[in-house]
């Protein structure tokens, strides 16, 4: 039995990518031809032996619930632990929907309190990677840590500064000394928002945060980290943060590299699971051209698809040319249409002979279920 409870924040960061999150949580944003963003963090947790997971929701969580159902697709339909969806209104006190990470955690305090786990692993859904948390937990135990913060070491980008990412000050023993102010281009330890914390400490913080005047959970706790045994753990390998539509587009296109596919979907025999849809295999017709593209099951392709990500159950008719685009599930593109640098949300329908184009820095977004 794992001694760690996973807590996933399904909504944090979603203001960053409002096109795709106006109708859904960030967690349920489709990614990589057949996945939702939450599949990565959820699969990483179960592959690490964490089988007791709570998912904190705020708005728009119907699509997430539809995706997760009982958690069976992730082997999380269990008697011990399994998947628990935590809706935003938990008690009399929470009359308004939470507006910060701290309020979100406070709202699920009773769920945490009634859980026998020693550790809590908290994670957001904006990160795409294949990562084994088990060594982090082992290292946390070995060091007798109270908090372990998972970070990446790389040059700071403008986007990270704009999104107020936290940068850690770490000593040679990986002990966190505090936060650092950095400028664009600096080599820095970028906090991933993956935090492992002792349950007892988290509950202690929740009991006292009001009197201490804590407002931002991550920033204030890490600033106070000298009070606790706080360590850092470096995450290596393929890693993508989805913090804008342009990021979403760029990181989607990275999946066209077989090495990224091997790293993200097969590393260490750890697969990424998603809701089983039982689509038939894809039929590529005579005369179709498919180059440098991801094609999941359930598609019928008669036209030309190049440098693109197609999702399940799409129909691409003859004479269609799709380049540099992302076409989400259940979309239909009728005869003779041309699409370039388009992100087409689920179930969109392009009538014959349409010409649609964006630019790789600003892809043209088409809403869900729209007919063009």
């Amino acid at each position: 039995m794992s001694n760690t409870l996973g807590i996933i924040f399904s909504n944090i960061h979603e203001r960053d990518i409002k096109e795709l999150t106006s109708i859904r949580t960030l967690a349920s944003v489709p990614f990589g031809g057949r996945y939702r963003l939450i599949d990565f963090v959820l699969s990483n947790m179960i592959n690490s032996g964490i089988t007791n997971i709570g998912i904190i929701t705020k708005y728009n969580y119907q699509s997430l619930m539809d995706h997760l159902q009982s958690g069976k697709s992730w082997d999380l339909s269990r008697k011990n632990g399994g998947l628990t969806i935590l809706p935003p209104f938990n008690n009399e006190k929470s009359r308004t929907v939470y507006s910060s990470r701290l309020e979100a955690i406070k709202n699920v305090e009773s769920f945490i309190r009634h859980n026998p786990s020693d550790y809590i692993l908290m994670a957001d859904c904006d990160i795409v990677c294949n990562f084994d948390y088990a060594p982090v937990i082992a290292e946390h135990e070995r060091r007798g840590a109270e908090i372990t913060l998972i970070y990446r070491k790389h040059k700071v980008t403008a986007s990270q500064l704009a999104h107020k990412r936290l940068f850690l000050d770490i000593d040679e023993d990986s002990k966190v000394k505090g936060l650092r102010n950095v400028s664009e281009g600096d080599e820095a330890n970028v906090y991933t928002d993956f935090m492992l914390i002792n349950s007892s400490l988290l509950l202690y913080i929740l009991d006292h945060c009001d009197e201490w005047g804590v407002k931002s959970f991550s920033r204030d706790i890490i600033s106070k980290c000298v009070d606790y045994r706080t360590y850092a753990y470096k995450l290596d390998g393929y890693y993508a943060t989805i913090s804008s539509l342009a990021d979403y587009y760029k990181h989607s296109m990275e999946l066209l590299d077989p090495e990224v596919i091997n790293e993200l979907f097969y590393k260490g025999g750890q697969y990424i699971y998603t809701k089983v849809r039982d689509s038939a295999p894809t039929r590529i017709m005579s005369g179709a051209v498919v180059k440098n593209s991801l094609i999941p099951d359930g598609c019928i392709i008669k036209g030309k698809v190049e440098n693109s990500i197609i999702f399940r159950d799409c129909v691409i008719e003859e004479g269609v040319t799709i380049t540099n685009s992302i076409i989400m599930q259940d979309s239909i593109i009728e005869k003779g249409s041309t699409l370039n640098c388009v992100i087409m949300d689920k179930g969109a329908h392009v009538l014959p002979g349409r010409l649609l184009s964006g630019h790789s820095t600003r892809p043209y977004y088409i809403e869900k279920d729209v007919v063009i």
Partner: protein, 395 residues
């Protein structure tokens, strides 16, 4: 426990020896089909889609892959509180242990299972056909006719009729003549091996048959002729969809090819009758900038950097740059290395085809398929002629 209307018994123990190396280590119903499926998926999915929630799966020959695949039946929505999928293997009892001696004996030995669920009707199925069929319609006709047994029939070309159990029926679908594999068939109504019995009649017939030392313990040879002779209510249920017995390499290959094209003979993508399968979690297929795919089926996990024409690829098949796969069926987990050429072949699961190997020759055709068995490592530059067979441990 609430009484069930109909319970299905699925005969999945057959060796399928005409599939040669494909069934060396797996039972025929567990042989791969159509990219992501195994043959048994079609029957199990038919059960679920027809509202039958209790299925006994009778295994015997090489049950390991099959049992693991079926598990608790979750992939077909057959993990149920009451009922669901049950693997029924031959077992040891007080009277001793014995193998299933025939189709009828297999059911007879599992009468305790049937008695436990005590359904009104029992559907007997075989796990080696590719088809979509609504058993609920057959059951409705069976009940309307007050039949003791209803046999599903499909019309086959008359020249092939002597391979099947052939029957003749009147306008009211009552069968008056049945012949198992007749030399001179009197009709082209062939038995699909799908029988709907009144449970009490089935129990009575099987008990009598078990006591008969001269019986082959077979539904087609013994039970049905006996029921006709006794004047039981024996009816036909006429089926007219796609149905394929994939008992030979040629028919298995043909059935795979039937999935291809604009209007395929058998369309897997029918949304209101999905075929369920217990697949693995693979990312979408990647066709690289060098890849070329024409008139083919690809499945999740594939990475295609070579050329694939008129072929069906299973899950996680790797076709390296410069490799060419034509007119072939490749099962899951196989790697085809750079420069290899494959034409008219069936390549089983987890095979490695070495660089520049050539499978098939000028004489290759649907009648002359090359075959590579499960887990075989074909060395670089190997040449295998049409009709050739390579098996692991025997390369």
């Amino acid at each position: 426990m609430k009484k069930k209307k109909c319970v299905a018994m699925l005969l999945a123990g057959g060796q399928g020896s005409r599939l040669k190396a494909l069934t060396s280590t797996v039972a025929k119903p567990a042989v791969s089909f159509g990219g992501k499926y195994r043959i048994i998926d079609f029957t199990l999915s038919n059960c679920t889609n027809s509202g039958i929630d209790t299925v006994g799966v009778l295994t015997q020959y090489q049950p390991l892959v099959l049992s693991e695949y079926i598990g608790m039946g979750a992939a077909w929505d057959l993990d149920r509180l009451n009922g669901g999928a049950h693997i029924l293997a031959p077992y040891q009892a007080k009277r001793g242990a014995r193998w299933y001696e025939g189709t009828a004996d297999a059911i007879y030995q599992n009468l305790p299972f049937l008695q436990r669920y005590d359904s009104d009707h029992v559907l007997i199925l075989s796990g080696d056909h590719i088809y979509r069929m609504n058993y609920a319609k057959m059951l409705a006709q069976h009940i309307a006719n007050d039949a003791d047994i209803t046999i599903a029939v499909i019309d086959v070309p008359i020249k092939e009729a002597s391979r099947f159990g052939i029957m003749s029926y009147s306008e009211d679908f009552s069968i008056y003549d049945f012949a198992e594999k007749p030399k001179e068939p009197k009709s082209n109504h062939a038995s699909m091996g799908v029988y709907m019995f009144k449970k009490d009649v089935l129990v009575e017939q099987l008990t009598q048959d078990a006591a008969d030392p001269n019986s082959d313990k077979d539904f087609g040879k013994n039970i049905i002729p006996k029921m006709l002779a006794e004047g039981k209510r024996v009816f036909a249920y006429q089926f007219d969809g796609y149905w394929k017995d994939v008992g030979t390499l040629k028919s298995l290959w043909e059935a795979n090819m039937d999935l291809l094209g604009e209007n395929p003979a058998f369309d897997l993508s029918e949304l209101n009758w999905k075929i369920f399968s217990g697949g693995d979690a693979y990312p979408p297929a990647l066709v690289t900038a060098d890849g070329k795919v024409d008139n083919s089926i690809t499945t999740e996990g594939d990475i295609i950097a070579g050329t694939v024409v008129n072929s069906v690829l299973g899950e996680h098949v790797i076709v390296e740059k410069g490799a060419v796969v034509e007119n072939s069926v490749v099962f899951s987990g196989t790697v085809i290395k750079a420069g290899a050429k494959i034409n008219y072949a069936i390549i089983d699961e987890d095979v490695v085809i070495g660089e520049d190997a050539v499978i098939g020759d000028g004489k290759s055709s649907a009648e002359h398929l090359a075959l590579i068995g499960r887990g075989t490592v074909v060395q670089n530059g190997t040449q295998l002629k049409s009709d050739g067979v390579l098996e692991a441990g025997n390369e």
